[in-house]
Symmetry: D2
Subunit: 348 residues, 4 copies
């Protein structure tokens, strides 16, 4: 059955796979000290325009969030995130497991609004008892957000300015960064992100790798003895090459960006199909995740023909569902989706 | 340069790699709910003779130790390990990071002696103030140990009996289990281990996989909501298939055991080479790690021809070095080692 | 200067102090194994009508919350609290420090509304991905709340029923319980609380003791080896007698209730003073904390005559301030407050 | 029954008690911002000869160790302690609960030997893989040690020098410091300790207070926002005055030192009694804890007349027992001990 359930439901992009095969026999040092990691880091620095940045490869998104946040916060600090942020809701309390509080802000379609952030901080420091409350030490954003939405360059700039003012670290979770960068409706480049954020990561798992996220410390601010902190958190791979080889492939010949562009193109065509059949959007997403509202009967019938994900109940008789495109989504998959919707509508 | 530095310096065994390629395009659910994980678990249960066991796949050894130990101990408990155990020394305090103490016992060539364990527990419970001390809740063993040595069936049985008596969990770290099982000097089978231990893991990373360890809960004792505990520790892979596919390959046509046998065969031949040149063994290891003592001058010269690992200084003029074999060690590698030693001795 | 800043700004009630003096020379065992702790526990069991309850004495409120919550939650669980709850805001992340998430619910004057709780739980378990989210394992209430408000017997019963339904622990923070129990506007007795809650604590620090909170496990549900868990969290006093003696005094001749009644009487008289001068209440509090709204000029002038606490800004020109009564608040203090307000209004 | 079980089995020294009574009615700010804490801190700075030191009051010893160690170590660091150190054995894993490893060194009568420390550090940094091992970031000493023994000024100086060399913090646990300072066999003064150590604490609980330890950061090195870190660990008392008042009393008219001297005098007389009856010492302790070896029969019979503590079995028929003196030990208590031993020996 054709599947739009996620951007991590198939294996690796063929070019990533080929690189793994080609390098398989080489004997190299473990724990990230191999030439593949070094080459990948260099390509990432170059693509992001930050020659002095430090790059460290980790395995998955929740792990990366917990490792980065807990090793960069001071003891008395917590991290600010949108109430709908991944670390607030969908990581089973991984940040709290490291002993730090997630300070939740209101959100708009998944985004933190700069004014809300400024108001929160002003109120915090105005409170005589704020030393009895967790200090805000970092702002966590996801780009794209959990709703597939994006920050504008102006918004990210405002948030970065507030962070500087309050001496907080700005951390951007780019688990789906490929789709944010290649969206037709963004003015934020990889270089902008590297310039504005103190640390961010480039998601591999959801962009054609088997696993892997590349953390970029943009201001020579990688925590001292970070390798030991990573090891202590059980996040250091013996065969670090697995991550280095894949990111080296992703940043060769612009593969990472091509993967992003392909998924965006597929998503745009998919949006056209939904529009053709008058299926309304729950949210206007300019990236590879599309949220639409369907009658429950349609959800059930369509679900027998193509795979997609339940998101939330909209009302008594309607449901929000999510369709995601990725490196492996094909024109044929979309034809199958088109045909399936038509059949359901025609009552076939 | 030919390398004997570790059993994780090359990529995946070709049969593992082939399976990754063959399954790459299939769209499957994430987070370990895929058919490959299910098939691999079934094959492992069958190989270990524990039809009711629960199998969970994690990424690396330190991660596995920390996740298993912290999710199985009670709040007031710690884990007993040999003073030289991997969790005691070489995991950067990963167990302590989860809030639990490692209770160190004396060791003999890396092994815990059953009598020492019994004496420790008797003294603990005889102490009127033991409620001010961490309760011993688990025994951690590695098999092979960090010195390449092995427990006998009798020793493991004695330790298991003590664990039962004191209601402690017996956990066996099998990061290099393939080499323990296929050693010519062992009477312990995979079935014995599954029967005697409450939980153990089968190392993939050091036995031909790119990454991956298979945890086996042998007594239907997987902690409740374990998936959530794994997620909370940042250890849940989105593409869980990566682990499932590899272990499915490892447990198809006995690949795991063939890899173990090959490395043992290579190690035995390597031992013959050391004997031929009168290079003494630091320890008698029946597995794939060999520790030998060399004059410092020889270490330096040989190090220019083949790669191996510094272990520790023996005395002013001698050093203990480690040579490891693995799935990719070849007869040619051994010829090269033989030739290199000869050249060093001949002063070439 | 007369002070209404808090109910912990003076030392111990004279009857508590006297007991400390009278028992000072007796040599007794440490760590809570003394006869004073035993006697106090027995008196508390009797007053609460729970003969089988287990009572454990801790030093302060934040400590008690962190110790109780972290030792009663399962690894994969978090605790539900009002967004304004003490553990959510004013404990510097002490619960998160133990590795557990605080799941924040909306609140009404500091209270959790049973319907909101039920809706949250229904949505949680309806979510297919809830295993990626922290399990709700406990409900935390404060009674009185941080705003001095109270739960009715009906509300607490409804919440208890929901907890039973979802197998969650119901924990009531009674840091100011004395004032909740003796309020003129409550129908909840100590016996009701002991019957409905799984665990609660009786605040000593804010009710006439130098320090101390008495945790009551009402269902023989004190965690196994709790003393060790308390020790592990640095919360076990060597001279446990300090807590036992004070609670023994508090539960002799109804001192605890007399202290509560006195503070409530003083608070009611204080409310009369505010009403006399037309100073509006920010919230209708039936306990010993009163929140009133004053013009900023009045706040400044009154602040030079009597001590009280800034709570929050109401608008550009008004401020919410807090006045608290306690065991040591006297009729003279109130006369002084009355006179001071009059002087400020008259412009003296 | 006369008791020599511990130095915390009675209440507070009368002068401490009197100060609590005298200050009881004063209304002061909470959380340590009261004038008593300020005055006590000033007296301690003066007594220790460190005018710029920062002083913070905590409640008990295990709490103090965990708070100080965890807030001063970097993420990747652990603390070195003697194998018999209090944090290694008798704190139920409180340091590990904060996520940090205790690195155990051999000991001699409870002391760390400077040479052992130097050797440990040299070996650690010589190891190529030390980044996979916990970094040693602090040395923890207790003075007196758990065996009542003392460091000489020369030894402490050597250890301090090694700490400087390796940029480690030197932390001295002075739970029984009063008895170390007033021992007849020490050349270490409070000023020496303040000069040589980066942080140490002065034990109140075991020296005449109801509770309380005074942490002294000697080099303006109190961790930033330490109050918040203390609060986060549940260790901040609302009525911080309880600690301030007691330490103010202890450091008025040399009370702390008089208490120490008294206990030492009593201990010396007690040693004379043991010598008179030929009861051998297990260890030569120059402080207020005395360890002697008795036949099991004598232990049992004497235990019916005076209270003391079982320490450990010496051999099949002998036991090591501990007798402790404190502020409340009287000449009469010693007469009773003398008479009791005589009666047991005479078979009465």
């Amino acid at each position: 059955m054709v599947s739009f359930t996620s951007d991590y439901n198939t294996g690796a992009h063929p070019e990533v796979m080929k690189r793994l095969i080609d390098t398989n026999a080489e004997a190299v040092p473990g724990y990230g000290a191999d030439p593949f990691c070094a080459a990948a880091a260099e390509k990432i620095r170059s693509a992001a325009g930050v020659p002095g940045a430090q790059v460290f490869f980790l395995t998955g998104g929740t792990q990366t969030n917990a490792v980065v946040i807990s090793s960069m916060l001071a003891d008395y600090e917590g991290v600010i995130a949108a109430k709908t942020g991944h670390i607030s809701v969908h990581e089973a309390g991984a940040v709290e497991y490291t002993g730090h509080e997630v300070l939740e802000l209101p959100q708009k379609e998944g985004r933190i609004i700069p004014e809300d952030l400024a108001a929160y901080l002003a109120a915090y420091y105005a409170d005589d008892n704020h030393e009895h409350m967790t200090f805000p030490g970092m702002v966590y954003l996801s780009h794209p957000t959990e709703y597939g939405t994006l920050y504008s360059k102006r918004e990210l700039g405002q948030i970065a300015e507030i962070c500087r003012q309050y001496r907080m670290t700005l951390f951007l979770d780019g688990a789906r960064l490929a789709y944010g960068l290649m969206s037709g409706e963004t003015d934020l480049t990889l270089r902008d992100i590297a310039e504005l954020c103190d640390v961010f990561y480039i998601g591999g798992t959801k962009a054609g790798a088997l696993c892997g996220e590349a953390v970029v410390f943009t201001k020579e601010n990688m925590p001292r003895h970070f390798l030991t902190s990573v090891k202590k958190r059980g996040a250091l791979l013996a065969k670090g090459r697995l991550l280095g080889v894949q990111f080296d492939a992703l940043f060769t010949d612009g593969l990472f960006f091509r993967i992003g562009q392909h998924a965006i193109d597929m998503a745009e065509k998919m949006k056209g199909i939904f529009r053709k059949y008058g299926i309304p959007f729950f949210i206007q997403s300019p990236t590879n995740q599309q949220f639409v509202v369907m009658e429950d009967g349609m959800v059930e019938k369509l679900g027998r023909k193509v795979a997609f994900e339940f998101w939330e109940k909209k009302d008594e008789t309607h449901t929000v569902v999510r369709f995601v495109t990725g490196w492996s989504t094909s024109e044929n998959d979309l034809l199958e989706l088109d045909r399936s919707i038509e059949e359901v509508i025609r009552g076939v």
